[in-house]
Amino acid sequence: MGKRSWRQEDDWLRQLRSGDHNAFAEFIDKYKETVFLCCRRMGLREDETEDVASETFLAAYKALRRYGGQAELSTWLWSIAYRQAVNYLRKNKRHRQLQTELDEEIVGTEEQAPLTQAQSREQQEIVWQAVNHLPRLWAVAVILHYRETKSIAEIAEIMRIRQNTVKTYLFRGREKLKQILSPVLRDEIDATG
């Protein structure tokens, strides 16, 4: 999908809000990866991920008429996906574990197995594997900041937490990633730039 002018984007948004199915299909294609990423990073299993992703898009379809453009569309959808995933975990009694992470009782205390340096592996895969080693809330914050280029305020809005907490998650996530990645990617990190 190529870049569109603001007028085309505006028309597309109007169609989307009016319930146009073609516009909604384009919306799904544009954001399905993001929604699956959010669900998987929240620790949902594969079958659960597809269910929650479907529920997310259904909820978005119903709420699109009320979307007024206050937040970016991707931020708005992230917050729906995140909420759906948290609600799913809560309903399935797995929220206790998430709450524990939220309370930071076990965050970062688990010793993760060190990454093996496979020469043939792409750098991106190594980084992604490292992100998967993070506690899920840190990982979500890191993905939102570094992948989706969301601001601290936007991440706080999506995760419904204080901005200071977001900063803590990002700081700790980044430190942990450095700790995991530095033995593997030190040369590349120092050479980049």
Binding site: H21, E50, L58, V127, V142, R147, R174
Partner: protein, 141 residues
């Protein structure tokens, strides 16, 4: 820069690049499946709306009938007086309406345009009734 310290800016840059290049796998035909679900949800919403309207209409009928029965039982004199008044009023208006028919027939009799309009209206009514009851069968035959 101390030798054991990573280049911070390069680290952030590398992290962003690597995460942005990541492609999250999505089941094939997810979009089609989602569109089917959306259409189903829309149909269910419309159906729920119709069911709600029917239930409201039924509730209104029951409430009106109950109110009439309660009024009739509680205030029989007033109810019978009101009913007689309504009946007399309707009868008066009915007579007036019938007499107006006679006047209209006298005025229009002999005017071919009146008969032409009447024939068109009756023809359209017959066509609508045929379309309503056997239109589908005629089209598919």
């Amino acid at each position: 820069m101390p030798p054991d310290k990573l280049n911070e800016e390069n680290f952030d840059h590398m992290l962003s690049q690597a995460l942005q290049r990541h492609e999250e796998p999505v089941p094939p035909a997810f979009t089609d499946m989602m569109l089917r679900r959306v259409k189903q949800a829309e149909q269910q919403r419309i159906l729920a709306h119709v069911v709600l309207q029917e239930r409201l209409a039924l509730a209104a009928c029951i409430a009106l009938a109950s109110a009439i029965i309660i009024v009739a039982v509680a205030f029989p004199g007033t109810a019978i007086g009101a009913l007689r008044g309504v009946a007399a009023d309707l009868a008066g208006q009915g007579q007036a309406f019938v007499s107006r028919f006679g006047q209209a027939a006298e005025i229009f009799s002999g005017d071919w345009r009146f008969y032409a309009i009447l024939a068109s209206v009756l023809g359209f009514a017959v066509y609508s009734l045929v379309e309503l009851f056997v239109g589908d069968r005629l089209r598919t035959a």
